[in-house]
């Protein structure tokens, strides 16, 4: 299916990856004005060409999704070297350094709880459950920055339909692997390990909710949650669960890692909402990585089609 969504940005405005890097040139100019700066930058680039990581295997991406934005994508370098993955350290640069230690093969995902057909999937089988799509989503972090990423995967609803939730199932819980041997950040009690997240069943069933195995047409880099993660584009980034080992269907609302850490700051819903500030900072604006000026944050991160999920709910109360 190739239905093109109307976009607010013309495709002629989409900048190829290489040109995104112009931002660096701009910063360089600002920092040390003039020829010296440009000479220095040229030298710097010779000394440190684009950083690499273990190349992910190519994925057979066959479907371009109608849900994709046509906004300018962030570069692979940006998306893989600026990560929140607390199991590998609490700063944004540690995951790229330390996540490579995680063994992602073999990998199993246990799907159970209130379902008729509980099953433990090998990651290879899970990948083949549906055609691999490309979905270019906006991704907004609760900290006030955002990126645009071409994820690869399929709607989580596909998996949910396979295991068939019972009538008691109202929520879905996701658990990240906990391997303190490789996850050096998880040795510290910064969060309640293993990392856990949750969605209401109707949120999990929404076609936008993605079970992702890759990005940019390759398997997920480890710092981005290999081998499988969720992507819920209308929620703050931490609602996504990386390196998933278990998906459990529940009758009551599960506790979630950030909610346990600071209940007044990170609610169960955590929908992107410019009108509900984080108690300590504003959520009205965000910095898109690569951009100089901040931009306005959109309700549901611009994914208005999910609004009906929350009809009649006070989103200030259910933040």
């Amino acid at each position: 299916m190739l239905v093109k969504k109307q976009s607010d940005i013309r495709s002629s405005e989409i900048t190829p990856q290489g040109i995104c890097m112009n931002r660096r040139k701009f910063l360089a100019g600002a920092a040390a004005a003039g020829a010296v700066a440009f000479a220095g930058r040229a030298a710097g680039e010779l000394l440190a060409p684009g950083r690499a990581w273990a190349d992910g295997a190519k994925l057979n991406v066959t479907v371009k999704s109608q849900f994709s934005t046509t906004e300018k994508m962030n570069s692979l370098d940006e998306v893989t070297h600026y990560n929140n993955y607390y199991e590998f350290g609490t700063d944004k640069y540690s995951p790229a350094k330390y996540a490579q230690a995680l063994r992602t093969s073999p990998w199993k995902v246990q799907v159970d709880g209130e379902v008729l057909k509980p099953k433990t999937f090998d990651i290879e089988d899970l990948q083949k459950l549906a055609p691999m799509e490309e979905r270019i989503y906006r991704h907004r972090c609760v900290e006030g920055w955002s990126i645009v990423v071409p994820w690869n995967g399929y709607s989580l609803s596909t998996l949910i339909n396979v295991v068939q939730p019972t009538s008691k199932a109202k929520y879905v819980q996701f658990l990240t692997a906990l391997d303190t041997k490789s996850m050096i950040g998880a040795r510290e009690p910064v969060l309640n390990w293993p990392y856990s997240e949750g969605l209401r069943l109707d949120e999990a069933m929404h076609p936008l909710t993605l079970l992702s195995f890759g990005m940019y047409g390759e398997e997920l880099p480890k710092q981005n949650g290999a081998p499988v993660r969720t992507v819920i584009p209308w929620k703050y980034g931490f609602k996504c669960c990386k390196s998933i080992v278990r998906i459990k269907f529940l009758s009551s609302q599960p506790s979630t890692a950030w909610n346990m850490a600071a209940p007044s700051e990170y609610g169960f819903y955590s929908n992107v909402n410019p009108n509900v500030d984080h108690p300590r900072w504003s959520q009205a604006t965000e910095r898109r990585l690569g951009e100089f000026l901040k931009r306005k944050t959109l309700m549901f991160n611009g994914y208005d089609q999910v609004a009906s999920l929350y009809n009649g709910m006070d989103l200030k109360k259910y933040y």
Binding site: L27, A28, A32, Y82, R280
Partner: protein
């Protein structure tokens, strides 16, 4: 070499050393090594170095007492002004890159967000200290009053640490490290105060014994 000459000749070297963190940041900017979010790196680096220079400045008095090196105080103005320098840059990154010089938005932020309130307090309290850092101002204020005024650095450093503590999401280990250092350095002053008072109380007694 006398202490006087050592101070005089080492000062330019210390000054250059104090410029190193900024120099490294500028170099990273020029060579494109500020990562995916350069503005955040600049904000964090200038904030960090404000706190570090505040700690160094606060360490001068306890160190000169503990080591018996009174001339260490001669570097104090410089390290204090470097704290102010980084504080200014930190504040400017906020005002410019975060608020785009919208002063009204800034005032709202300061009033509404405790971590901004704390950071802004820390910065504002450094202003009178920087303004009265010259020899002329010390003379005009008089040593005692000047000293009293410059105790504001205790409040500024404390507010700076609180600012950091309140802004992190979950990992408070680093802000707590700063808190421990500042608490220790302020604690030293408390100890010095009591030691001095004891001595002062002891002195009249010594005189009394000497009376015929």
């Amino acid at each position: 070499m006398t202490a006087e000459r050592f101070v005089r000749y080492s000062k330019p070297a210390v000054f250059l050393a104090c410029l190193v963190p900024m120099g490294l940041l500028v170099r990273k900017g020029i060579t494109g090594h500020l990562g995916a979010n350069p503005i955040e790196v600049i904000t964090h680096s200038t904030g960090d170095w404000t706190l570090i220079f505040l700690c160094i400045t606060l360490a001068v008095t306890p160190l000169r007492r503990a080591l018996g090196l009174p001339w260490l105080v001669r570097y104090r103005r410089m390290t204090g002004l470097f704290a102010f320098f980084h504080g200014c840059l930190h504040f400017m990154t906020y005002l410019w890159l975060d608020k785009f010089f919208d002063v009204h938005e800034m005032v709202k932020d300061v009033a509404k967000r405790p971590f901004i309130t704390a950071g802004f307090t820390a910065f504002v309290l450094m202003l009178p200290l920087a303004a009265t850092s010259t020899a002329g101002m010390i003379r005009r204020l008089g040593g005692r009053r000047w000293q009293l005024l410059h105790r504001l650095i205790y409040v500024s450093a404390t507010a700076g640490v609180i600012h950091y503590y309140w802004l992190v999401k979950a990992d408070v280990r680093l802000p707590l490290r700063y808190a421990a250092i500042v608490a220790f350095l302020l604690g030293c002053r408390l100890v010095m105060y009591f030691v001095d008072r004891r001595r002062q109380q002891a002195r009249p007694m010594e005189h009394a014994e000497q009376l015929p």
